[in-house]
Amino acid sequence: MNIIKGFATTFKHLREESITLQYPEQVRPFQERFKGRHHLRRYDNGLEKCIGCSLCSAACPADAIWVEAAENNDEQRFSPGERYAKTYEINMLRCIFCGYCEDACPTQAIELGHEHQMSFTDRRDSIFTKEMLIDAVPEGGQPTPQKVEAGAFDRAIPDMPDPK
């Protein structure tokens, strides 16, 4: 009797749809709050939001972020503020994707996205440079560095949400 009972369970489950996710063809939808790879954002006009303040690297519990700042000028403007990140690197193998950098950022320049497929055969590949992290220039924007009118940006930290 028991054996029939047992096989009944087995056959019942055989008819059920498989729960297995066919990765990599299928990808499970992520929660909105999932923290994956970082992105450096741009304003609509193409200027970088990052002002090179290093607060992300100060907040980082794993010391994964390295920022070196330099000064903007109107001939070569990267960000609307006074300074920009000359070097911006994140070591993805150190990063624990905690999102503290996002919290620390005064200009919402860094955001953690949903990309998560990061495995490397060489550990040097794990260092993502600014070029890899920064978003593409949005439509209608100019690539950085931009040449702008003198005095167009006179704030140390841009107070406009989206400068034109």
Partner: protein, 161 residues
């Protein structure tokens, strides 16, 4: 090194053999049953039905290093654990591969202190590093696929070296 000179240039034959062997190897890389910390939890769930590593012929976790092909270092390696990890690696038979799973195994992660090996590649050669703290099963599987890629790229001349 040793194989090609002995066999001479056999062009088509070697490349076909290479392909066949690499295909076989990617199809059954048995991991070593071995976990060190929180990453091992994700590793377990990767094994379970939802993600099912059996799809890659990896359902068989071997408890003996002699029967395992792949070591997944899942978790931070303490200095005390390091010799054990090394010994297990040494006991594995060739061909063998290592995946360093997660930040701690890859570079110490947040544990930048005296007790933790700052990257398991200080003690054993690592083939694939997987980022994440801990990596999701998807991320680990991505790492395994990266390893497959690497295995497929192996040359006959590397085997004997």
């Amino acid at each position: 090194m040793g194989v090609t000179p002995k066999l001479g240039n056999m062009g088509v034959v070697t490349s076909t053999v290479e392909e066949a062997v690499n295909w076989a190897r990617t199809g059954a890389t048995w991991p070593l049953l071995f976990g060190l910390a929180c990453c091992a939890i994700e590793y377990m769930s990767t094994q379970a039905g939802n993600y099912d590593l059996a799809r890659f012929g990896m359902e068989l976790n071997r408890a003996s290093p002699r029967q395992a092909d792949l070591m997944i270092v899942a978790g931070r390696v303490t200095r005390k654990m390091a010799p054990v990890v090394r010994q297990l690696y040494d006991q594995m038979a060739d061909p063998k591969w290592v995946i360093s799973m997660g930040d701690c195994a890859s570079c110490g992660g947040v544990y930048n202190n005296y007790a933790i090996v700052q990257g398991v590649d200080e003690i054993i050669p690592v083939d694939v590093y997987v980022a994440g703290c801990p990596p999701r099963p998807e991320q680990l599987m991505h790492g395994i696929l990266t390893l497959h890629e690497k295995i497929r790229g192996e040359r006959i001349s590397d085997w004997a070296s």
